[in-house]
């Protein structure tokens, strides 16, 4: 099936190769690649490729997420597959000490944590952590509910976007 994918990534050397590698590795046959520098420090890349089936596409998506490459839009055979939405929030608390990997893994069951930035003045103090999560638009409520539940359980203050 023919897939058109719009990727957004940071404008640093090597990123494009990093983004295309998972497609080739999982059997994708790249037809065309165009990229444009529009937004500040962010490059938008349109990749068209042919891939055997949905499970191959899922593997590509997973690998891109692992590489922290934002999949903005996917079109399969000319039909919009899904539009992703980016959700940002800040957690304040002992986020590292309360198993941050567990926090991320649980959120990843509903979306994909694509960015984590931690600020901590000292190991004993509470840390402030900004997370970006890529989600399907329709799962917004479920993801926020999950984050809220984790915050309650681990004693974090949640600052979500408006």
């Amino acid at each position: 099936m023919k897939v058109d994918m719009v990727l957004k990534m940071r404008d640093v050397p090597g990123m494009l190769v990093k983004a295309l590698d998972p497609i080739s590795r999982h059997g994708g046959n790249i037809i065309s690649v165009t990229h444009s520098r529009g937004e500040k420090d962010i490059v938008s890349v349109n990749v068209s490729f042919k891939v055997k089936d949905q499970s191959s596409l899922d593997l590509i998506k997973k690998e891109l997420a692992r590489q922290r490459i934002h999949v903005f839009r996917i079109t399969i055979e000319g039909r919009k597959y899904y539009m992703k939405k980016s959700l940002s929030y800040i957690l304040i608390g002992h986020v590292i000490d309360t198993d941050i990997q567990d926090t991320i893994d649980r959120i990843n069951t509903l979306g994909l944590v694509s960015g984590v930035e931690v600020l901590m003045t000292s190991p004993k103090q509470k840390s402030s952590v900004l997370m970006d999560v890529e989600i399907d638009e329709k799962s917004n409520g479920a993801v926020l509910e999950m984050v809220g539940k984790i915050c309650k359980e681990k004693g974090f203050l949640l600052i979500r976007s408006l």
């Binding site: 929030y89 304040i92 600020l119 840390s127 402030s128 900004l130 600052i159 979500r160």
Partner: protein
Amino acid sequence: MKTVKLIVVGFGTIGKGVLEVLRMKHKLVKQRYGVDLQVSGVCEIDGSLINPGGVDIDSALLYAARGKIREHPDWKAEKSLEVIRKVPADIVLELTPGNIKTGEPGLSHIKAALESGKHVVTSNKSPLAKSFYEIAALAEKRGLSLGYEATVGGAIPIINLYRDNLEVNEVRSIYGILNGTSNFILTKMFEEDLALETALKEAQELGIAETDPTYDINGTDTAVKLVILANSIMDKHVSLDDVKVTGIGEVTSESLQLAKKHGYAIKLIGDVANMEVSPRLVPLSHPLNVSGTLNAIMLDTDVAGTLTLVGHGAGKIETASSIFSDIMHIAKSADISRK
């Protein structure tokens, strides 16, 4: 020329601000609207200035400034409730600070005023948040006006905008920054990378925060205003217990620096749709990203679309603007009949 007599209940910061603005604008109101505003009573905790012919504003403010209000020639040992019931007036201005749990003493003042046939204008949030529907029903039953523009958003004309200018609109949601003190603190933390305690101390030194800023910091003040907006504009029949409240006490300067780096500010937002008060990430380009002590309110309506109002949420003169908006709405109506 129509004479409209006022009783001012509560002679603190807001009460003094009202008299200062009255002194400043008395002539303008007379010329522009043909209304002569007079003050027949000014109530303090332990007594009142009473003069049915009109208390002299200059001397009342002068005696108060010297801390000698009790030596004023019009001073009588009569308490506010007696004055409200007995002294002839058209409008009672209830400007006392209120107890959030009981709504008192404002609630009793408002009821006494309405029961004795006087219109009410108030800046007191507590009685409105506690007993909005009871007070509104009493006013309607007596055919009297209840003005409470000054309870939410200081000088921002949100309540009267809805009443007078959005007649055919359904309001789908209301949200915004309703507390100037917390916004000042978050702005300081954001702009100068300060800890909350340092920003709060600065707010106190500038007279922006009270000695006890608990309700500003823990979100209660915002929640009270949220309840008033929810009931008066969206008819939600809610109380303070229905609001999920998280204040700004736990917000760190690091979180503000993180937010800034990613294109956000952090603001304490009251959100009627979710009945929630909480710190939220607000994009830097968003209309609600206002600085310092400013308040900002967004109304999402079905016909007019989204409206944003920005203005000073506190300050005695700014708040007096809203109080006079209510006074003039009543004064300009034809049916002023003194009891």
